[in-house]
């Protein structure tokens, strides 16, 4: 570990961290925007869910690197292939959570809402979606953390991220770079996860008062924080 390397490369580190954060945060947010309507449709029309699930599972099975490369002809060596791929992976995580969240709305609650005089759309927006928020955010947490981690693989097709520190460190047999990259990925994931936990607390005060039993770092239990996992993806 060569501590002096860090201050000397401060601007490079900062630039890579920002690039990594952008890829890791924007992709799941786009994924969320697509997942909510998709999940609503899948929860409403039961026949629709199995094909959706099959498609997103197949996408999830495609290795990240292969997916990036496959997208290069269409988008070139830009951020776009990485964002598209990470968005697709986010769908795989968030859509099932949207469906699960909506299905978990207790039948008596749904029935009472109808009997009070809610139309289907108003019931969805003001009763069912708010009740699904904790489950949706749980999925978003996993998606964000794993996207931050997976974004580093983009380095292999030349898209800037903290992955640069891994590749460069490996080529130069310079472990300090790898450790710094590792540390920053973990720190970035932790910070984003904490922000999402805070967001859930704010959005669902009714669930927060239930007790502090929701584990604060549930989203971090994915393989995303195991640094070699992104490269080892099938």
């Amino acid at each position: 570990m060569m501590w002096s390397w860090i201050p000397g490369n401060w601007s490079l580190i900062w630039q890579l961290t920002r690039a990594n954060a952008f890829l890791g945060i924007v992709s799941p947010l786009i994924g969320l925007a697509i997942s909510v309507p998709l999940g609503i449709a899948a929860a409403r029309w039961r026949w629709f869910y199995p094909p959706v699930l099959t498609v997103i599972n197949i996408v999830y099975a495609v290795p990240a690197l292969a997916l990036f490369i496959a997208l290069i002809p269409a988008y070139g060596l830009t951020n776009t292939p990485v964002v598209i791929a990470l968005t697709a992976y986010s769908l795989c995580i968030i859509v099932p959570n949207v469906v699960a969240g909506l299905r978990a709305v207790p039948a008596p609650v749904r029935q009472a809402a109808t009997a009070m005089g809610y139309g289907p759309l108003r019931r969805l927006i003001t009763v069912e979606l708010p009740l699904a928020v904790p489950v949706i955010i749980a999925g978003l947490r996993v998606a964000v953390v794993s996207s931050i981690s997976l974004a580093t693989v983009g380095q292999l097709i030349g898209v800037s991220s903290l992955g640069y520190l891994f590749v460069d460190g490996l080529q130069r047999s310079f472990p300090t770079e790898i450790y710094v990259g590792l540390f920053l990925i973990i720190a970035l994931a932790l910070i984003c996860d904490l922000i999402l936990v805070g967001l859930r607390r704010v959005l669902t005060p009714w669930a927060a008062t239930r007790s502090g039993r929701l584990p604060a770092f549930a989203g971090l239990r994915s393989r995303a924080l195991v640094p070699w996992a992104p490269l080892g993806r099938p």
Partner: protein, 379 residues
């Protein structure tokens, strides 16, 4: 007035849930639908607010076919209470109660003020207004459910097993509260239960279903107990219906005797002179509350000058309140009393007299004859 006109509900698989139902629910009355599970009582209820659509026949609300209105509009005019409460977990108690007023376009502040009124009405503390449903007990949640159903002051209330999920003590309290509320509000209530005791307690009218969606009998509860239409009804009502019917007869008509009642400052000798086998000792002067029973045999062994207040007494079980309790309570008091006599008290607990089994039997007979005559005159 809710009217079912030969309403049938048949499911695609051929199951008939409700079979050509004809039923009138009079304005301001509580009609209880009771029967075994799967008899179609809940289906009948849910057809009124169109959660289920009938296959045949029609349902009228004050003479108008309910299908003339948009379902959402119809439902906002009908209160709905269910067993599992169906409260919205993500809304505070006041916002839960304010649901229908808000749907009707009220300003939130006005709707919340209305919610506060309803908390009072159902006997819940104002401090609960800002809590979430899961922070309340089952009984409190059920009260909130009733408050929510009443928020927009609908003339009709549908209640689907509203008290089945709470423990028996809370259930009794909630039933009493519903009866009290109904005395004040005079809603047209359709209530579903599988519990015949509940039906008899809260109903002005009871509609007893047979399995497979037909009616066995529709009658006021006391007539159901007095004259079950057939063996099925008699069996459903239960074998001690004679005793239970007594809850509908007031105990006022029981003639009370004052003979065995003596104050604590009376002497054993004077008690023996009365010739009564049992003496009810009550407080002296202006406090004639019951202290307990003492057998004449025991007094005979004592010094004649002994004050009754100094003699050990047996408990008196419970008393019945003249002007409030029923003959059933009076009979029960007699059964529990060591002397075989029921102690009648006034609203303040002062003893008015005691009634023997003979006196109770005479009162039961008189009440039954009067009731049967009234039922025969106005069927």
């Amino acid at each position: 007035m809710i009217t079912f006109e030969s309403v049938t509900k048949r499911y695609p698989d051929g199951t008939v849930a409700v079979d050509a139902l004809n039923l009138d629910v009079p304005d301001g009355k509580t009609m209880v639908l009771v029967g075994p599970s799967g008899c179609g009582k809940t289906t009948s209820l849910r057809m009124v607010n169109r959660l289920i659509e009938p296959s045949e026949g029609r349902i009228l609300l004050n003479g108008d076919d309910i299908r003339a209105q948009h379902p959402s509009q119809l439902r906002r005019g009908i209160g709905y209470v269910i067993q599992q409460t169906g409260l919205f977990p993500h809304r505070t108690i006041e916002d839960n109660i304010a649901t229908v007023p808000v749907l009707n376009g009220w300003k939130r502040a006005k709707a919340r003020a209305r919610a506060r009124e309803l908390l009072d009405l159902v006997g819940l503390d104002q401090t609960l207004a800002r809590r979430y449903p899961h922070q309340l007990s089952g009984g409190q949640q059920q009260r909130v459910g009733v408050a929510r159903a009443l928020a927009a002051d609908p003339p009709v209330l549908l209640m689907d097993e509203p008290f089945s999920a709470v423990d028996p003590v809370v259930r009794g309290t909630l039933q009493d509260q519903l009866i009290a509320l109904q005395r004040e509000l005079r809603k047209t209530i359709l209530l579903v239960t599988h519990d015949i005791e509940e039906a008899i307690k809260v109903g002005d009218l009871v509609a007893l279903y047979r399995p497979h969606g037909t009616l066995a009998q529709v009658a006021p509860p006391e007539r159901l107990l007095a004259e079950p239409a057939d063996d099925y009804v008699a069996g459903f009502v239960g074998f001690d219906r004679g005793i239970r019917r007594l809850s509908f007869f007031p105990a006022d008509a029981v003639s009370l005797s004052a003979g065995p009642v003596l104050p604590t400052d009376a002497t054993a000798a004077s008690a023996l002179k009365s010739g009564e086998p049992w003496i009810l000792v009550v407080g002296a002067g202006d406090d004639p509350r019951p202290r307990g029973w003492v057998a004449a045999d025991r007094l005979a062994g004592l010094d004649g000058e002994t004050r009754l207040g100094d003699v050990a007494v047996d408990g008196f079980g419970h008393t019945f309140t003249v002007g409030d309790d029923s003959l059933r309570a009076a009979l029960d008091a007699a059964v529990l009393s060591p002397a075989g006599q029921a102690v009648g008290v006034d609203a303040d607990g002062r003893v008015l007299g005691v009634a023997s089994f003979d006196q109770l039997r005479a009162a039961v007979q008189a009440a039954r004859e009067a009731d049967d005559a009234a039922a025969g005159a106005a069927p």
